[in-house]
């Protein structure tokens, strides 16, 4: 068995060079709340671990052009404690804060949650709904990508072996817009989503939806952006007929598995219910309400 090497480079370039030069499996470490568990269980046996946390700027949040730039390894508690992020993107912050426990929140990062590529990752549908992008560093420099283009299957991403995520960008919030995330778990806390749903909507002055993004988690091999569900909202107010169309579109987008955590029928049904409930919170926020998330 090859021995495990750990390096903590101080620059993006050095990290990319190390990843590119690794002969075997190399893993990027940010919070480590998934990676360390997988190392321990033997599920992954990398030759090299590149810890990114020493790279300046990779932990931290800054406002830029009305939007937010969030360092890839920024822990969930830092998102929670940021003075303005939560008011601006409450759905994203609430989703990130659902990951694990308070202790886990001290470490767990958006980049880790995304690149672990679990279909049930909580922060990912919320980030996709918010239209988040990420800045990816690699041997050829940096590139921007949409968050929805990262996960390609359970445990798989579109990142090349020499690439890693440096930061996320949340756009400037449109006026009269709002986002929300809900997940459903059998237990009340500390569990993996059976279904997750992120919704971001923009309304006109009359409360009619002008733009929407609806994303489902844990109902397919990857988080799913559902344009049909968004189309059910656009041009409508939040009324029963609209919610019914949204519910149906969300259910049609489901391609879940049967497992001990939930059956196909059940996940599909709950996806529709969650889409309705999440949309209601997002509409409420967009129209200036202070509706709390969670359930």
């Amino acid at each position: 068995m090859p021995s495990l090497n750990y390096v903590a480079p101080a620059t993006v370039q050095e990290a990319v060079r190390l990843l590119a030069g690794a002969s075997g499996l190399a893993k990027v470490l940010s919070g480590g709340t998934d990676l360390l568990v997988q190392l321990r269980s033997g599920r992954t046996r990398p030759e090299l671990i590149v810890d990114t946390k020493k790279i300046p700027g990779i932990i931290g949040i800054r406002e830029e052009n009305g939007g937010f730039v969030i360092g890839a390894a920024t822990p969930g508690m830092a998102l929670f404690e940021h003075p303005t992020l939560k008011q601006t993107w409450p759905g994203v912050v609430e989703a990130a804060n659902l990951i694990g426990s308070k202790q886990v929140q001290g470490r767990a990062s958006l980049a880790g949650n995304l690149c672990n590529a679990s279909p049930a990752a909580d922060s990912v549908p919320a980030m996709i709904a918010a239209g988040a992008t990420c800045l990816i560093a690699g041997s050829d420099g940096t590139r921007q990508a949409k968050v929805e283009d990262i996960v390609t299957g359970p445990g798989r991403t579109s990142l090349a072996r020499d690439e890693f995520i440096v930061e996320f960008r949340l756009p400037k919030r449109e006026p009269r817009s709002g986002d929300a995330y809900l997940r459903f778990i059998p237990r009340t806390e500390m569990d993996i989503a059976v279904v997750g749903c992120g919704v971001c909507v923009t309304l006109d002055a009359n409360g009619v939806c002008t733009a929407a993004r609806v994303v489902l988690g844990a109902v397919a091999p990857t988080p799913v952006l559902v344009p049909e569900a968004a189309a059910a909202l656009v041009g409508h107010k939040l009324d029963d007929a609209t919610l019914e169309m949204l519910d149906a579109a969300a259910r049609r987008a489901c391609n879940p598995i049967d497992d001990k955590r939930g059956t196909i029928d059940y996940r599909t049904k709950v996806a529709g219910v969650l889409a309705r409930r999440t949309a209601a919170i997002a509409f409420n926020r967009a129209s200036g309400g202070k509706s709390a998330g969670g359930h």
Partner: protein
């Protein structure tokens, strides 16, 4: 009186500040580390080991396999003994079975080497799922250690059922569950010649002592077992399971002290579990609700007989709970390729009363009767199975006080008849009962010139409050302030006490503590009377009192230091044994309770949330209002886990447990647990034991799952007969 007061746990500060030393934390010179290698198949034989790679790793001291493991004396049975698998043969009984032990100078090196041990098997035919082997159901050979047969019958239940106007004929199932105490099992073993010392996480130091002495062929007095703190047991630390024995074996092989700590995953394959049960229930009643016939046939999962025998005695409560003239029960075991099951909090009662009290709810529905009224209509004034009076039974008070606090009267009878917005509301109740067990126990007390009484007994505190309540009993008996009493336990050098199982610790040990303290007082009186300086010669004990460390006579007083000084003694000591008499022949000894649960079920998602629990219990005299309440809320919480979350999942093909961790084996988190209100009905049962207590470790778990299931029916109209209750069940 200090007994009854809500005294803080005496071990609490030690535990929360990290100074309480648990089994894995004793520092020893030259400590080596053992790691278990486990089978990856569920049935077959080991053909060979390839240990060359592992042996070549740095720091490896030994790799023990069935090829070279020291032979153990497994033929002689003793209390709490588990005789296999202990590397004595090459048979594989279950996936995860220990097949080798790797010992190295550090834990990491032992882990690395263990991962490099290669095992070749000849795979056999495995039956991994109980339901596929029901045809092999067998009569238990050692039911209740032979104290009674596995079946019983009074009257003619089949004939009575056939003609009963109202009938319930249903099957209930409960899953395999694992105990999941906070502290994984751990042992440190050290040999000095033929003398063995083990620091181990156990519910029974005496059983560990005799088991290890028997297996290694040494005298019991040459084995010392130390276990001052145990981070929860719930039954899985009752027996002396193979890891403790293998630690001692490894220490003998390498000639150094060895530590073996189970991983969380190994806690699912190394020290038992609650077996899956299939329970067939038949209840027949007349139109007024009078029970005419009861039949309760229980099947529980077992391992292969070579590992021993364990039966989940699901139907024992059915024999005694209701005044029914025609009752039959039976117990069968179904062998599969899984490890040996064992006691788990209220073994038999938790699983069996779930079925019985759910079926009673079904009967109440069929009769259109209030569930409490049905139970009162069948209230057993005497034990109908043993035909003996109860030593005490305050179950009527439990129903009444629990119902009043819970406001049972607000319940409308029909299912789906109570709502709160998008939530369906359901109220359910069930009965609890558990035997009041007692075994022989000893204690000694020593009083020195500092006025501090040191009381010792070889019992255990598995997180229940033994340290605290025994000090309270001693303080009252000796009329000393609690600050002047120290209680010590968890060492086989102390007088012998039984395993902490069957809720028997307090009913067994507190009488011994009381008796030892009474004996000490008598000894002080003897000394005082004999002391020429008191002038009390000819006085009798009844002329004297002992209070706050002073012997008080009619005319004068003498302190303990004075008494001791007069006789050149450093301390005075007394020891006493207390054991059951014939009370069990004259009376039926049980604790009782009534459980109430309120659930809310989301109309759209089916999510089930408990919003309130009330439990009213007859647990005899209460020694400590605070630790008692902790036991009650802990038991109800464990019952909620059984009702809604807990299930060990087995991959049918490989026999491997797939959720062997507490992320995927769901136990309740704080947010799952509603406010729990508890009532201790006033009682003092001096027939059961001289202190008047009834054990309450297991009682509050009994009936909790049925109360939840009955509430779920009331909310939704769906009767769930297979635990845990899943959201899918109520959406159907």
């Amino acid at each position: 009186m200090i007994v009854g007061q809500p005294v803080d746990r005496r071990d609490g500060r030690m535990k929360v500040t990290g100074r309480a030393r648990y089994a894995a934390e004793f520092p020893l010179q030259g400590l080596a580390h053992a790691v278990l290698v486990q089978s990856t198949i569920a049935a077959g034989t080991i053909l060979s080991f390839d240990t060359a790679d592992a042996k070549g790793q740095p720091g490896v001291l030994a790799i023990i396999t069935p090829d070279d493991a020291p032979r153990l004396q497994t033929k002689k049975a003793s209390q709490q003994m588990v005789t296999a698998p202990l590397l004595q043969d090459k048979d594989i009984i279950y996936n995860g079975q220990h097949v080798a032990v790797v010992v190295a100078d550090t834990l990491d090196r032992a882990l690395e080497a263990a991962a490099r041990v290669r095992v070749q098997y000849r795979q056999g035919e495995a039956v991994t799922i109980m339901d596929q082997a029901l045809g092999q159901a067998a009569v238990p050979k050692h039911f209740r250690n032979g104290a009674r047969p596995p079946d019983s019958q009074r009257g003619d239940p089949d004939a009575a059922f056939a003609t009963a106007p109202v009938k319930i004929d249903v099957t209930y199932t409960t899953p395999v569950e694992h105990h999941n105490p906070m502290e994984p099992h751990a042992t440190i073993a050290m040999w000095q010649g033929d003398r063995l010392t083990v620091w181990t996480a156990t519910q029974g130091i005496s059983g560990a002592q005799t088991t290890l002495a028997t297996l290694f062929g040494v005298e019991p007095q040459n084995v010392r077992v130390v276990s001052p703190y145990v981070g929860g047991g719930f039954g899985c630390k009752g027996n002396t399971w193979p890891p403790a024995t293998l630690a001692a074996m490894a220490a003998r092989v390498v000639g150094r002290p060895v530590k073996l700590v189970l991983t969380r995953a190994q806690m699912y394959t190394s020290n038992g579990y609650r077996p899956r049960t299939i329970q067939k229930l038949k209840l027949g009643a007349d139109q007024t609700g009078k029970l005419l016939a009861m039949r309760h046939d229980g099947f529980s999962q077992m391992s292969q007989p070579v590992l021993g025998e364990f039966v989940e005695p699901v139907a024992l409560a059915t024999e005694m709970l209701y005044a029914c003239p025609n009752v039959a029960v039976s117990h069968r075991i179904v062998p599969v390729n899984q490890g040996l099951p064992t006691y788990m909090r209220a073994p038999g009662e938790a699983s069996g009363v779930f079925a019985l009290e759910s079926a009673m709810d079904e009967l109440a529905i069929a009769l259109k009767m209030d569930p409490i009224a049905l139970r009162l209509a069948n209230y057993a004034e005497i034990d109908p199975h043993e035909n003996k009076p109860f030593s005490s039974k305050k179950l009527r008070e439990c129903y009444a006080q629990g119902a009043a606090k819970f406001e049972w009267s607000r319940r409308t009878p029909g299912p789906r008849s109570m709502r709160d917005g998008r939530w369906l509301v359901g109220l359910g109740m069930a009965t609890a009962t558990y035997p009041n067990n007692r075994r022989a126990a000893s204690a000694r007390v020593r009083l020195g010139t500092d006025g501090v009484a040191i009381v010792q007994s070889g019992t255990q505190d598995i997180g229940t409050g033994t340290y605290t309540v025994m000090a309270q009993v001693a303080a009252d008996e000796l009329h000393l302030p609690l600050s002047h009493v120290r209680f010590e336990l968890g060492d086989t050098r102390y007088p012998k006490a039984p395993v902490s199982g069957g809720s028997s610790t307090v009913p067994s040990v507190s009488p011994a503590v009381q008796a030892a303290c009474a004996a000490l007082r008598a000894r002080l009186f003897d000394m005082a009377i004999a002391d020429p300086r008191t002038g009390w010669s000819g006085a009798s004990h009844s002329d004297l009192r002992f209070e706050n460390g002073v012997v008080i006579g009619p005319d004068r007083r003498i302190t303990v230091p004075q008494l001791l000084a007069h006789q050149n003694l450093a301390f005075v000591e007394a020891e006493a044994e207390s054991k059951p008499g014939d009370e069990k022949n004259e009376h039926s000894l049980h604790a009782f309770g009534a459980q109430f649960a309120e659930v809310r079920v989301d109309l759209e998602t089916g999510e089930i949330r408990l919003t309130r629990c009330v439990g009213a219990f007859d647990a005899g005299r209460v020694l400590n209002a605070k630790t008692a309440r902790s036991q009650l809320i802990g038991g109800i919480t464990y019952g909620i886990g059984m009702a809604l979350f807990e299930k060990t999942e087995v991959d049918a093909e490989t026999g491997r447990i797939v959720n062997a961790n507490i992320a995927e084996y769901l136990v309740p988190v704080n947010a799952d647990i509603p406010p729990i209100e508890t009532i201790l009905v006033a009682n003092d049962d001096r027939i059961g034991n001289p202190v008047g207590v009834k054990g309450m470790g297991e009682l509050p778990m009994v009936g909790a799952a049925a109360a939840v299931a009955n509430a779920v029916w009331h909310a939704t109209g769906v009767r769930v007969r297979d635990l845990p209750i899943r959201i899918e069940d109520v959406l159907a």
